[in-house]
Symmetry: none
Subunit: 153 residues, 2 copies
């Protein structure tokens, strides 16, 4: 018996296909459709529509709130970028990260200014609120999310 989360995952994926790569849903509505608690939708999204798997998720609360899921555009992504995203791993040091970013510029994946932004966002300087043992992990998350954002639209 397929678990409910798998069913919801399939439903969303086929919806994304039908809608050319992007859907906007309402959490409660979807939960209602599948007779589950709303937070299960969060579970499905956080386990199956992650950055690593090629999805970009945004949401908003309050009246008219929504959750939007976008699939990255493989065409515009470029093999190198996709390769990087999948090869960055769960952790990355500041130094390694800077080397990556420099390479992106060399390969004309990003502009100089974009490189500045990326370095600024992944610098140890901004990690003061992150526990020491999680900084390389946080850095990898930020780096990958930034790269992923460039592959959309």
């Amino acid at each position: 018996m397929a678990r409910l989360s798998d069913i919801i995952e399939e439903f969303l994926k086929s919806l994304i296909n039908k809608e050319q790569g992007a859907v906007e849903i309402q959490r409660n509505e979807l939960a209602n459709m599948f007779n589950c608690v709303p937070s299960q939708i969060n579970y499905v999204i956080s386990t199956r529509f992650t950055t690593d798997k090629g999805y970009y998720v945004e949401s908003r609360r309050g009246g008219g709130g929504y959750i939007s899921i976008k699939r990255i555009n493989i065409e515009s992504a470029g093999d190198y970028l996709m390769h990087i995203i999948s090869s960055v791993g769960d952790k990355i040091s500041q130094h390694t990260c800077e080397i990556f970013i420099k390479n992106f510029v060399d390969y004309d994946i990003i502009e100089e200014r974009e490189a500045k932004l990326m370095k600024a966002a992944t610098s140890d300087k901004v990690m003061t609120d992150v526990p020491l043992d999680k900084r390389d992990s946080a850095r990898a998350t930020i780096l990958k999310n930034m790269l992923m954002s460039l592959t959309i639209d």
Copy 2:
């Protein structure tokens, strides 16, 4: 999904563009136009046309009252960035952050792609390694550091 406040915001912004940076409206008239209570106009203005976001608002009550909204005149992008950097507090929510970033695009301070990077780097999605009570603080740090990086040649 179409939040009325967003629609009113867009309406005002396009009006401001058309009128070269300044508009004068009447609260009741505008409220009437959008079938909402007058105080919603205050809500829109106080959440979207603040000083920090580059707008200057004046008003007058009584007969012939009005609300005037002016876009701040920016001499240089650098000045504006410095202004923003110093006005972003120690904490910032994801949504407020997105509004800031949207404004940078409106003001031609940054490109669309740069906006994507900044949003990606300050999204709640990347804060999983940051303790909950420190996420807004971490976000503010990242945002300011990115902005700072743009002011340097």
